[in-house]
């Protein structure tokens, strides 16, 4: 587990709300790539608790879908690219909206139906920014992040190709 701590450019929201505190957005981003299971509810609770100034916390949990004979899902990542790109995404989300914090937790490795894959949460003074930021982060994670997926069906692994829908989703943000 690694906390997001590299130097990042401060977003307008940080300058507006926290100039006096002289802290950067990097302190408000928590980006992790995990190879073992995690508990989304606990992550959301501690994220929200740490942001008492936020009027809204929006979260999204992606989990392994049951059905279609799927026995397992495996996500593969490439160490030098995957986490750095997730950290970069958190910075761009911070730059785009007035946020108090961003949380991105993503699994890699083998999972079974019902297991959480990804958790994205955004905290803001007002809900609109939080909704939009979480939506934006998910669309970008789905189509641009460095993960390769395969499903196990009938005892055999099958690689999953990119979905056209994911590219359409990301195009909404211009």
């Amino acid at each position: 587990m690694r906390r997001f701590s590299r130097t990042a450019t401060r977003s307008p929201s940080c300058r507006r709300y926290r100039a006096a505190e002289a802290v950067g957005c990097e302190r408000h981003s928590d980006v992790r790539l995990l190879t073992s299971p995690f508990a989304p509810a606990e992550e959301i609770a501690s994220f929200a608790r740490a942001k008492p100034e936020s009027g809204g916390v929006v979260s999204f949990i992606g989990q392994v879908r049951e059905g279609d004979g799927v026995e397992a899902l495996e996500l593969q990542h490439y160490e030098p690219l995957t986490l750095p790109a997730m950290e970069k995404l958190a910075v761009s989300v911070h730059r785009r909206w007035d946020l108090d914090g961003v949380l991105i937790v993503h699994r890699s490795g083998v999972m079974v139906p019902g297991d959480p894959i990804v958790l994205v949460a955004a905290a803001a003074r007002h809900r609109r920014d939080a909704f939009a930021a979480a939506d934006f982060a998910m669309d970008h994670l789905k189509s641009e992040s460095w993960f390769w997926k395969r499903e196990k069906r009938g005892g055999e692994w099958h690689w999953i190709e990119p979905r056209e829908q994911d590219f359409d989703d990301i195009a909404r943000w211009g």
Binding site: K142, W148, W159
Partner: protein
């Protein structure tokens, strides 16, 4: 004196392994040509991206390779 090749996603199946160590050759094109032709063809597919030592490269002819370099072959991502 060797290069470390990394195959992600379905390329791992084509290569038969996620990693392969090969002798140092001056450029990526030469490395690909030294491999099994069916693997070489899969690696040359237009949507396969390349990273040398964790940095994406555009041109397979450009980087001069040296001992210990890691070349990753990245097929289209299937997303998170």
């Amino acid at each position: 004196m060797s290069l470390n090749l990394v195959f992600l996603g379905r390329l791992e199946d084509v290569a038969g392994s996620g990693k392969l160590s090969v002798p140092v050759l001056p450029c990526i094109d030469a490395v690909i040509d030294s491999l099994d032709p069916s693997l070489g063809q899969a690696l040359k597919a237009p949507r396969v991206k390349l990273a040398v030592n964790g940095i994406l490269v555009q041109d397979t002819d450009a980087p001069v390779l040296k001992d210990g370099d890691e070349i990753a072959f990245l097929p289209p991502v299937s997303g998170g």
